[in-house]
Amino acid sequence: MHMSIIPAALAASWLALGCAASFPVPTQDQAQAQAAERSAVELGAASQPKAQLHLELAREQMNQASVAIKDGDNARADALLLRARSDAELAIALTRDQSAKTGAANATEQSNAQRITNANQGATQ
């Protein structure tokens, strides 16, 4: 499921709430939330404070979704899984953003060092 249709799926799950008894177990959304959570971990979200917060939120909601499935509340479980997936994907985006910021800062630092080196070489030549 493409991430841009998460809200639509969420809206659909709430429309189906009226007939909760017939809502299927959200195995696909569960798999997608778990995949997003794993990706976040692999990218190093756990070591980046802002990303870590959303990683934890994703895990909590995935656990809550598991409980809801056991209780037969599949619609609630689906909504929780979609929330969890959005948090996991946010953790990924924040981790990548932090890496990009670090890369840019390092490049700026190198550039400044290069400027000083070149200036010194110019002074000695």
Partner: protein, 286 residues
């Protein structure tokens, strides 16, 4: 009265209920603020697709709120809309940082290229200078070799008509009297002048400080007084000639010893020839 009071209470409660129903949930308020912030950030130009997704999410949440009010469904939709707006914000920032990094690396590359060109130019100048210096060095080397050759030739020429010895009184250059003068005369022969010029050149080049004494010596033929006078005049002739060839006059003195300092037996013609001589003594520096 009681009826009016009951109606008033009912109206207040109903009004509060209506107000509560129109109050958006905190998740929706947060989502609106997050989206507004994201729309004003780099995502607006750098990541419009994710910002559009966030906008769609927020609309669904707004529709849910308009239709159902503050329900769990509305809060879930608002929660997801907030995350989508944050994702757009983060991805916009990521693209911005990546662009910034690329630009910085590009500037660094340009600076490196420029510095390389500068260094290369300086290297070229240094190489040229090195070549020029090498040529100057080679020319100087050639000049020295030429000078050494000339000096060696002068020494060889000198050895042909003079002997050079190192004694305690200094370096002694002995010139045969028959080479320099006609018998009984004190005027230099024309051939002798050329020889003495070489001596003068050698002495001027090698040393400009040492004192030089030109000594005249004769054989025992004739009287002592005659020989003393002759030796003095001959020494003076040589001394004067050396001065004309560039030697400082205060460096060179002359002295006649007549027949008093023979170096060979005056009984034989060869011995007498050896005794007729001029010695140029280059005194050691003091």
């Amino acid at each position: 009265m009681k009826t009016i009071r009951t109606a008033s209470i009912f109206m207040v409660v109903a009004s509060a209920a209506a107000c509560a129903a129109s109050m958006p949930p905190a998740d929706l308020v947060t989502a609106r603020a997050t989206y507004s912030r994201a729309a004003q950030g780099p995502a607006a130009t750098l990541d419009p697709a994710d910002l559009h997704t966030a906008d769609e999410s927020l609309k669904l949440a707004e529709q849910s709120f308009a239709r159902d009010g503050d329900t769990q469904g509305t809060r879930d939709l608002a929660y997801v809309a907030d995350r989508r707006a944050q994702i757009a914000e983060a991805r916009g920032g990521t693209i911005q940082s990546s662009d910034q990094q690329q630009q910085t690396l590009g500037r660094m590359h340009a600076a490196e290229t420029s510095q390389l060109a500068l260094t290369s130019g300086q290297l070229g100048v240094a190489k040229t200078q090195l070549v020029v210096q090498g040529q100057a060095l080679a020319a100087e080397q050639q000049r020295r070799e030429d000078a050494d050759k000339r000096a060696a030739k002068a020494a060889a020429d000198l050895a042909a008509f003079a002997s050079v010895k190192q004694e305690t009184r200094g370096m002694v250059i002995t010139l045969s009297g028959s080479v320099l003068f006609a018998s009984g005369k004190s005027d230099l022969l024309s051939g002798a002048q050329a020889k003495l010029s070489e001596v003068a050149e050698a002495l001027t080049k090698e040393d400009v400080e040492s004192k030089i004494v030109v000594e005249g010596h004769t054989d025992s033929q004739g009287g002592a007084s005659y020989n003393q006078d002759l030796s003095q005049r001959r020494a003076q002739s040589v001394r004067d000639y050396l001065v004309t060839r560039g030697m400082a006059s205060d460096r060179v003195t002359s002295e006649g010893f007549g027949l008093t300092r023979p170096i060979a037996d005056n009984a034989s013609p060869e011995g007498r020839a050896n005794n007729r001589r001029v010695e140029i003594v280059v005194q050691p520096k003091k």
